[in-house]
Amino acid sequence: MPPILALAFGLGLWQAVVWATAVPHFILPSPVRVAAALWENTALLGAQAAVTLGNLAMGLGAGILLGMATALNLAISPSARILLRPLMVFAQAVPVFALAPIVTLWLGYGAPSKIVMVALVTYFPVTSAFFDGLMRLPADLDDLARQMQARPWPRLMLLQLPHALPSLGSGLRLAAVQAPFAVIIAEWVGASKGLGHLMLLSNGRAQTDLMFAALILLAAISLCLFLAADRLARHWDR
């Protein structure tokens, strides 16, 4: 119930802003116009959304799996840590989005560049959050591991991993928030399909209502993704 209420509230606010400021529709269309655009362009929007979703899913999958694998690797191998850890910090700080044009020039305007962008943007937060969690084993469990002469791998799996699940959850939440941005930016920078591409086109054609319809769809996708990640993360939160 409250989410529906909040949605209604948000839409109401939007409509109120449109009325109150008499903002021209080519800057901010009213919810009604956007709803109409959504309704009239269902097929077009659906097809573009499917493309975007596919890239999103593949990029997320790759980024999360690679990120988890890297974190586990770093956690178990001290030598990997010495070289890779600072590199990770650097890499996380580089604005991955700013690399979008280069990635696109390299990989072309098709799906691969989108997938790589999404993977890049999910990889770092997942790796970083998960790794931090893995390394922050509480003192009493570390004592236990020492006196039980834990081998590195079971120590990782039985103590560090379960303890790091909430951190992994944070990482996934973050990845879920960033991934839709990444796919949109990648589509802005160069694409012939997808919701981002559609936004750009309709923006160029001064069809602001269609652009907002695409934006709404994108927001819905983001929301679902975020809620899924959040659910998982909450499940892991002790």
Partner: protein, 295 residues
Amino acid sequence: QDKLTLMLDWFVNPDHGPIILAREKGYFAEAGLEVEIVTPADPNDPPRMVAAGRVDLAVSYQPQLHLSRHAGLPLVRVGTLVETPLTCLVVLADGPVQSIPDLKGRKVGFAVAGVQEVMLNAMLAHHGLTPKDVEQINIGWSISPALMSGQVDAVIGAFRNFELNQLALEGKTGRCFFPEAEGIPSYDELIYVADPTRMDAALIARFLTATERAALDIVNDPDTAWQIFRDTDKALDTDLNRLAWADTWPRFALRPAALDLGRYQRLEAFLAASGATPGGIPAADLAVDVSGATE
């Protein structure tokens, strides 16, 4: 001093020669104007910023004016900056595309959504192709790199005075297909647009007169003009701009305020016939001559 905000269509480049020269030589100041020049990030922005009242004047493209008007934006052309088409469809000279029909099944990149789409479709239609026969890709800002790296087979929206030179600098040869040679009526590439309900025609007339003086200076002595232009910003002093300058200055409108209503009427009719707009806006509503306005 009256204030006037002008939004360019793109970052500063030789296309804006008369504007920059007028500023540098103090013609704006002499005309009692304090002109603030703003660059956009998205070339679709300038007409909307004018329509939204955020700037007084914007540099736009004539086809964009027609499309914007049909989208309900209150705009009117008040002056001309470059009076020939600049846009062209560029391919690599040694590439697989030797004529427009070769585009069938290939990838065409565009930089600015909307206007260039209409251009491309019209050129394709002239050769019996439909928009579905090519894959249209938005390539953002990387027009030349996209072509050179082979990610697209052609780009629409390249400027003949610009991208060809850029290709040359990288050791490639480009080939240009001109819209006006492919069935599209000739038009003014760069125009000034304003919001007719809000604009101060007399102020704009003063602005146009100042740029007119600058344009004449340029044709009279293009080399000195280039040096002035180049010295305004270190970032402008590049080989590309030097080459582009030579290709651009002959195309500046020497009578920026003068109006050729026929051009507006023909393009409006053409766009309607090709299905891009419903048509029907009289040329006199699209473009006005402000030179007679007084305070």
